[in-house]
Symmetry: C2
Subunit: 413 residues, 2 copies
């Protein structure tokens, strides 16, 4: 018998019929003897409806009052799911964030969980009940209702699992696990049995939007085993854990992530003096534009080329800033390019394997794919390439690192 | 400067536009220097939408979970109204029932308020804020969310006014006050300046559905001056107070109430023995059918006729019960009649005036209206008549008791 936290997102509880399906799933799991805490989001569309109402009322809605309104979405779902479970013979009870007492700071709309009172939940579990908790919400020390921001329900699930020292936190979603890469791009993409938090963070932040980054970080910090599963299909999903799996041969690369969200900006002929990087990037950061990759080319004749990427929606604004900066520091020109893509190989295995980068570059060059930028971390190598080669690059790397291999038998919980 | 509690119902806050209108009204009142507590209902239609969702989930929704769901309706309104007030420069803050701490018993769906913590509200008022409180809801001693039942927002308003010793509790609605009778029936019906709680209770329970009976009882018990006003029209409304107004000549009759909701049932030829009333009415009550008027006719030759009224929707069921009872006690026959109406004259003035009843009966007989049943209390006389005479009877009595007279100057708050 295990203590399991299960989180169901807005799509999984998006209609009365789906709530009924989720209830049956919970009933089956409860029948296996597990203690269950269920975290749910607002029914899909509800949060947007509430935001719409608030925006009609005020262009700049007060954040505290916004949270009062938004938190009702999850509150409706917990009541409906608890009712449904009871109606099929499963003892269940709902808790809002405030009732659990999920204490957060007072940053309305993006509050951080500070403490969870586990006493009441523990008592309900001991009484044999399935406890349904509203995701995404809490209360601050003054009793104000707070929300954790979009995707906050994943964080609620992980935080509850950490507080209760649950055996596993299961995130039910519309995919049946984390894949080696996007199956829409590579037919041979396969579901990963296991992945580490570190790898998942790299995969997630690079565009595999299965889990909220914040929830993965949280799970890693408190070592909460996290499992991604499909809401309405059977299967073991993907387990995300702290430990690298030493019992099986660790593959060098776990997955390939990619995105097309970025644009590349180059400022050429920059006088190569100390502090010039700050002079260029300072004004960009000051405009709240997030910078991803940065490359400064080898300096030639006292000048250098400076290249970085930003989100495409920020490209125009960034160019305007750079044009001003270029004039100030005496740079030659500013060039922008949005027809790029970023491809990354991710794997804790690359730590102990030399030659991963060269293997990657070789595979790409064999297909004539030119690398525009390179960035590396301990468990990740990213390259920026021409957007038109994206699918080819992903398929090439998927094969080169032997990710197409058939999968082993799946673990069962 | 006064402390005023204002309650706005679902229609008054039924759209973003209406919420904006209510906000302007509050702003104007605040500008006069008053301290304001505002109680709001769910936006019209929202409570029914939520009930519909719950009914889809379960034919017998759990009452605790029903309250979790229903309480979200008011929670959305308080957030929206607080936002709107802030956006027009009025400092405002929202409170759910649980946040105020409106403590109730644990009768989900029909909870009774037991205690209100006034500390936080007082602090917000002292800080110059308009406090928006969710009507209809509270929490029990275990922290469970409760609701007070339909119309509970009136009760919340009165209870807050009592706890804070407010100068007045204003109920904003879709009529501009309490009328001598329904203006759709009598053209000369006029708005009452003042009415006592006692009279209001008789008027309300007889079908003038301006205020919730429970709220009026509550206001009477704690002597909270209650004023009924129109949400979107100017005017002094009707003040409901404990005291009969001795400074002006008290009219004998304050108003005429009526309804068509009842059916009359007669069981004839009942052997006139002790305990026979209980034998007849016991099974009816046991079936949860509410009985209103009861008349037992003078006994003739050891038998009696027994007549009473129930709500029309219960007529069929009551007849079935009576047919069984008639067989058991040896009564002659059972007859039902739903083509009836009840007309009542109400007024504390009748206590000190003889001849009110005879004046009423005379006025009706002059128009050939036959009285089928009579029932009296200290401040009310009700008659049951043939439904087709209803309008004629109301108009006749309205004139006979001089209620058509033009109104005096209106008091201002």
């Amino acid at each position: 018998m295990a203590l399991i936290v299960q989180k169901f997102g807005g799509t999984s509880v998006g209609s009365v019929e789906r709530i009924a399906q989720v209830a049956e799933k919970i009933k089956a799991c409860k029948a296996e003897g597990h203690d269950l805490i269920i975290v749910v989001s607002a029914m899909s569309g509800e949060t947007n409806r509430l935001i719409g109402l608030a925006r009609e009322i005020s262009a700049q809605p007060d954040p505290r009052e916004m949270d009062v309104i938004l938190s009702t979405g999850e509150q409706v779902t917990i009541g409906l799911l608890a009712m449904k479970l009871q109606s099929i013979g499963v003892p269940a009870i709902s808790y809002t964030g405030a009732q659990v007492r999920i204490e957060t700071d007072s940053s309305f709309g993006k509050a951080r969980i500070q403490h969870i009172d586990e006493g009441r939940l523990r008592a309900e579990l001991d009484a044999g009940k399935v406890v349904i908790v509203a995701g995404f919400q809490g209360m601050d020390e003054h009793g104000n209702i707070t929300t954790l921001g979009r995707g906050g329900s994943d964080t609620t699930g992980v935080a509850l699992a950490a507080a209760l020292k649950a055996d596993e936190c299961q995130i039910y979603t519309d995919v049946d696990g984390v894949y080696t890469t996007d199956p829409r791009v590579v037919e041979g993409a396969r579901r990963l049995e296991k992945i580490t938090f570190e790898e998942m963070l790299e995969m997630a932040s690079l565009g595999s939007k299965v889990l909220q980054i914040r929830a993965v970080e949280f799970a890693g910090k408190y070592n909460v085993p996290l499992r991604v599963l499909h809401s309405f299909k059977e299967g073991p999903g993907t387990l995300i854990t702290l430990e690298e799996d030493l019992s099986m041969e660790q593959p060098v690369i776990s997955g390939i992530a990619f995105n097309r969200d970025e644009a590349k900006l180059t400022i050429r002929g920059v006088p190569d003096t100390p502090g010039v990087a700050y002079k260029i990037l300072g004004p960009v950061s000051a405009a709240n534009i997030e910078i991803d990759m940065i490359v400064q080319n080898v300096s030639q004749d006292q000048t250098t080329d400076f290249t970085f990427t930003v989100n495409r929606i920020d490209q125009r604004r960034t160019e305007e800033i750079l044009n001003k900066v270029a004039a100030e520091i005496g740079a030659r020109e500013v060039a922008g390019d949005s027809a790029i893509a970023k491809v990354s190989i991710v794997g804790v295995g690359m730590r102990s394997h030399a030659g991963v980068a060269s293997k990657m570059f070789e595979a790409l060059s064999l297909h004539g794919i030119n690398i525009l930028m390179i960035s590396t971390s301990e468990i990740k190598i990213s390259v920026v390439i021409d957007e038109k080669y994206l699918e080819l690059a992903v398929r090439t790397l998927h094969s080169a690192f032997e990710l197409d291999a058939p999968e082993q038998d799946a673990d069962q919980i």
